[in-house]
């Protein structure tokens, strides 16, 4: 019997036939990268292959690497294995990877979401036999409200804070969430200031996406200038001395985890907005159904619970351990590739 088309080994998701890895977590020769978040695009591979809109992003984060950019749906063949990238809708430049060999099709989602956020090319259903899906939010308690509503409430929050003479500090990880928030912030309310990590990433993304004007906070920035405006900052800036300059301020975080009251309180954030770049429960289930896949492999997230439920629905579902961490990592840890620039 042939080995499975994609295997999970100690380095990552491996296609033995083509000697290619997808999102490997240890250095390898050939790596297909789904998107630019640190747990998926790691340092040290010889050749990176990714969507061309992700190229400037991973170059920004990883420095001088050898990288090939591909278009959506562009097939590239390695030792008779056909690979192609398809939009995953997670963040700008995020792909699913389709792998086909002798008529058998596997798809790895990377991270994905079904809602069109107006920045990332929207998620596209790719028919396959085996679907490797993340399930960061694979519990029925996660049900997202539409982006427009969330953004309205964020803008309302900003206006209210401004009326009370307070600066609004909004946390979102610097690649993806920050630009998504930025795009829909209402600049009629005030000016948008940024933390260095976000400003740098904005500069990488601006050539691809129209974003409102932002001002980087530097040592020279006057406290009075920021007052009442909005500051976009990565979660790791919370609780640092950098933030004191904004006093009096109110903090808000936009994340899927904000669906839990406990998550917001534990981080001592004043206001939580439920906004995620991952699928919610219904998004996961509808995507899985749409692929027509019979075999489902669940990676990072509530894998055990989610795959058990899929088996009850009649899928051949199992879990595989990976080192991807989903929105947990994005929320909990210092973003290891970004220095906090005061």
């Amino acid at each position: 019997m042939n080995p499975p088309l994609l295997q999970f080994n100690d380095k990552g998701i491996y296609c033995a036939q083509a000697n290619v890895y997808i999102d490997p977590w240890r250095p390898v020769k050939n790596a297909i990268i789904t998107h630019g978040h640190a747990d998926h695009s790691r340092w040290g591979h010889q050749n990176y292959i990714t969507h061309h809109t992700n190229v400037p992003i991973i170059k920004h984060r990883l420095g001088a690497i050898s990288v090939t950019g591909k278009n959506w749906n562009e097939t590239f063949v390695v030792n008779n294995v056909k690979f192609s990238l398809h939009p995953a809708g997670h963040i700008i430049g995020s792909s699913q990877v389709r792998v086909e060999y002798k008529g058998e099709v596997w798809v790895f989602t990377g991270d994905y979401k079904t809602e069109d956020d107006g920045i990332a090319v929207p998620y596209e259903v790719v028919k396959c036999h085996t679907f490797i899906t993340e399930c960061t939010f694979g519990l029925p308690v996660f049900k997202w409200t539409p982006q427009t509503e969330v953004m309205n409430s964020i803008n309302r929050w900003w206006s209210e804070n401004k009326a009370e003479g307070k600066t609004s500090i909004l946390f979102g990880y610097s690649l993806g969430k920050a630009q998504r928030l930025l795009k829909y912030l209402d600049t009629n309310i005030g000016k948008i200031y940024t933390h260095g990590a976000i400003e740098n990433m904005n500069n990488v993304i601006r050539p691809m996406v129209a974003l409102p004007e932002t001002t980087l906070i530097t040592r020279e920035t006057k406290k009075e200038a920021i007052s009442g405006n909005l500051v976009l900052a990565p979660p790791s800036a919370h609780g640092t001395t950098w933030i004191r300059k904004m006093t009096p301020f109110v903090t808000g975080t936009a994340s899927g985890w904000m669906a839990f009251r406990g998550a917001r309180r534990r981080r001592a954030i004043d206001k939580g907005f439920v906004l995620s770049d991952h699928c919610d429960w219904d998004g996961l289930l509808s995507s899985i159904k749409a692929t027509g896949a019979e075999k489902i492999i669940c990676t990072h997230g509530y894998t055990d619970i989610f795959s058990k439920y899929l088996r009850e629905l009649g899928y051949d579902a199992r879990t595989e351990k990976t080192q991807y961490e989903g929105e947990n990592a994005e929320m909990n840890k210092e973003e290891d590739l970004e220095k906090i620039i005061p």
Binding site: P140, G262, G272, K308
Partner: protein
């Protein structure tokens, strides 16, 4: 209900006391009198009796969510709060409720005696008719307290601002037994009546721990010391030939201590005693653990009365001959108390005096504190001779000087997700100590659970370790590779048949993470047993 839900949301979404007080004050200024009474009741833990058990609540909520029951349970373990799980899992809509808070509570009270089918219809209809947050609040009204960081004191402060009534007077009015379903806002808060006050206790005066050196308290001759007894702080009221016993949690516990009831008549009407309720097996002071065998029971059987008798160890007298003594000096109040004690000393063995000890030098205090464990107290109380009996926790006149906790190094063996704000992390831990089994092999035996004492950053690290080192999962509990050592502190220790280790510890908590220690260096059950006096 909309206003109440918004209030809860505001209270829940701020960590700042002044924001909370402001929100509550604004609410009290605009809410209807009935809703105000209910809001006070709910925020002081006076919920109506639960009309439906949680098993049925889960079942009916799950029906609407249309998922398997096990999936509901898993979600609940992760969310960590039943009302929140129910609110999240039911399909949502944007409806607002037009019914008032009072209407909901009256419906919930009436629901208790309704047939099951009717309960189900009521709950399901209301769940579907409310938006997410109102559904959460509605379900919380049924299941439990809100845990939104609003103390009774904070609420009283807001009410005082809104109504212009002195905070201490309000605290007094809000204590005791009142029924939010029958009392009006006028009678509870606004009316000035004395006849209702027969069961009413005074607010407890609580002490802060001594800060810095004991000598900083000044001249030792200005002070008395007492032992700090390890039982239940209580206030016992003798008025109109009745007795009322209040615990510090403002719970009326009269029925749990029938042995004090025959003090009626011996202690005159118009007397209020501040005392510690202590277990007293075999005519000596027992441990808190002994007392605990009585606390949870609804019915106190003769066997329990015999096995774990209790005494009142009196500290203070707050009312004498119907007169409020709280503004008199401690010394004066103690004279009254001691005279009273002399009149009944030989008649009733369950009434004891907590000795006040004169202090000539601070060294005497230090020496007395060293005696605490032998005397079965948890340390000392220092009380200024001329101190009045104040309201709540105040600095200055009373200080507590507890013994350092006992400590032991133990190994983390099991973990469970926390609840509330810790619900996404594994923060509830079980710890084990070494013990030799019958084959002479060392094995780890569970001895205590603890869930406080680490910083958020440490909890995240330990949580990360647990997720990567899980051996097995049992529902919400995970067994973890024994690798981490923690220093556990506790207040007391006693032999126990209910514990696998044979030992019960009082108030165990994590003191620090011993990253410098290997599990082989952790202590043994023997070490722990050697700490028992």
């Amino acid at each position: 209900m909309r206003n109440f839900a918004n209030l809860i949301k505001t209270l829940d979404s701020s960590n700042k006391t002044n924001v909370k007080v402001e929100a509550l004050t604004a609410y009290f200024r605009t809410a209807s009198p009935e809703d105000k009474v209910w809001t006070i009741a709910i925020l002081s833990h006076r919920r109506p009796a639960r009309p439906v058990n949680t098993t049925l609540l889960r079942l009916w909520a799950n029906e609407l969510a249309n998922i398997p029951m096990w999936l509901f349970e898993e979600s609940y373990h992760i969310v960590g709060d039943l009302a929140e799980t129910i609110a999240l899992i039911i399909p949502t809509n944007e409806a607002n409720s037009s019914k008032s808070l009072t209407t909901y509570l009256q419906e919930i009270i009436a629901l208790k005696s309704k047939p099951e089918a009717e309960k189900k219809t009521y709950l399901q209809e209301n769940w579907l008719a409310l938006n997410y947050y109102e559904r959460f609040v509605f379900t919380k009204l049924i299941t439990g307290s809100f845990r939104i960081g609003v103390s009774q004191k904070l609420m009283t402060k807001a009410l005082s601002k809104a109504e212009g009534i002195d905070e201490n007077i309000l605290a007094y009015k809000l204590m005791g037994n009142w029924n939010p379903n029958t009392i009006t806002f006028h009678d509870l808060i606004l009316a000035e009546k004395s006849s209702d006050y027969i069961s009413k206790p005074y607010p407890f005066y609580l002490a802060y721990p001594v800060e810095g050196e004991i000598e900083s308290l000044g001249d030792p001759k200005d002070w008395y010391m007492e032992h700090k007894w390890d039982g239940i702080r209580s206030q016992t009221i003798f008025r109109e030939d009745q007795i009322f016993i209040w615990s510090r949690g403002e719970e009326l516990v009269t029925d749990k201590y029938p042995e004090f009831h025959d003090l009626i008549g011996l202690i005159p009407n118009g007397t209020v005693i501040d005392a510690e309720i202590l277990a007293f097996p075999n005519n000596q002071i027992g441990t808190f653990n002994d007392l605990q065998t009585r606390i949870g029971r609804k019915i106190i059987s003769n066997a329990v009365l015999k096995k774990t008798p209790v005494i009142l160890k009196a500290y203070d007298v707050l009312e004498w001959e119907g007169k409020d003594l709280r503004n008199y000096p401690y010394e004066y109040r103690r004279d009254v108390l001691e005279k009273l004690y002399q009149t009944i000393e030989n008649k009733k063995l369950q009434f004891h005096l907590s000795e006040r000890i004169k202090i000539n030098s601070w060294d005497e205090v230090t020496a007395e504190r060293m005696q605490a464990r032998e005397k079965r107290s948890e340390g000392l109380m220092l009380k200024r001779k001329d101190s009045t009996y104040q309201v709540g926790r105040k600095k200055g006149d009373w200080w507590k000087w507890k013994l350092e906790p006992l400590t032991i190094d133990a190994v983390l063996t099991y973990a469970m997700r926390g609840s509330g704000r810790r619900s996404t992390l594994f923060t509830d831990y079980t710890f084990a100590l070494w013990q030799e089994n019958e084959h002479g092999e060392k094995e780890l035996v569970t001895f205590a659970k603890a869930y406080s004492g680490l910083t958020d950053a440490e909890f995240r690290k330990v949580d990360d370790f647990i997720k990567k080192n899980t051996i097995d999962k049992f529902g919400p509990v995970r067994s973890v590779t024994p690798q981490l050592v923690f220093e556990i502190g506790f207040e007391g220790i006693a032999l126990s048949k209910r514990h696998k280790s044979g030992i019960a510890t009082r108030f165990p908590r994590i003191l620090r993470w011993r990253q410098d220690k290997k599990i082989e260096e952790a202590n043994s059950i023997e070490d722990l047993k050697n700490m028992i006096i």
